[in-house]
Subunit: 110 residues, 2 copies
């Protein structure tokens, strides 16, 4: 779980998706893209869960960092495969995180 990494404002990309049947190289590409994202300028962290519906939230310092990542050539190829093969449907939401807070059972609010 990506905790409160820096002071708002920062950016979040909320990606919700429904997969097609079968893996078709999806798992391998997912791992590659997660590694590649971590090397990108302004990348702050990522949380991802799938259980039928998938929700992946990635965090970025600025909106320009998000646009750069979207234009990355290897990522462009993955996006194309996503539309052609892996996803029945998805939504992308680009958001400005205006405030955040966290809680840990042993520490209280963090």
């Amino acid at each position: 779980m990506t905790t409160t990494l820096l002071q708002p404002p920062y950016y979040a990309v909320i990606f919700t998706s429904i997969r097609t049947e079968g893996d078709n190289g999806y798992a391998e590409m997912g791992e590659e893209m997660e590694k590649l994202a971590q090397t990108q300028s302004g990348f702050l962290g990522m949380d991802s869960v799938r259980n039928g519906l998938g929700i992946t939230v990635s965090y970025w310092q600025t909106e320009a960092d998000i646009l750069n990542w979207k234009k990355n050539m290897q990522h462009q190829y993955a996006q194309k495969q996503g539309r052609g093969v892996w996803y029945a449907a998805y939504t992308v939401r680009v958001c400005k995180v205006e405030r955040h807070y966290g809680f840990e059972a042993e520490k209280g609010y963090v």
Copy 2:
């Protein structure tokens, strides 16, 4: 999956969490809170997945709607139970959705 319901800007609350062991009334309260949220002013939709890590994203028309929901008495009680019993850790992020787009395999970009 909550698709693109209205034109940005609108608001999203990203709630990531790690549960404690055992149900302890969590599932029942979760259902109640989801129903209650749907009756709140400005509620637009909700996406929720758990697979170890949990990510729930709720969508709201304005930030005031989010604050009203946070202050709802039944929700306040659930929040207190959350901190005392159900969650080992959580984060809450309040975000302004600045732009969004969607894709459906049969329709293309939507």
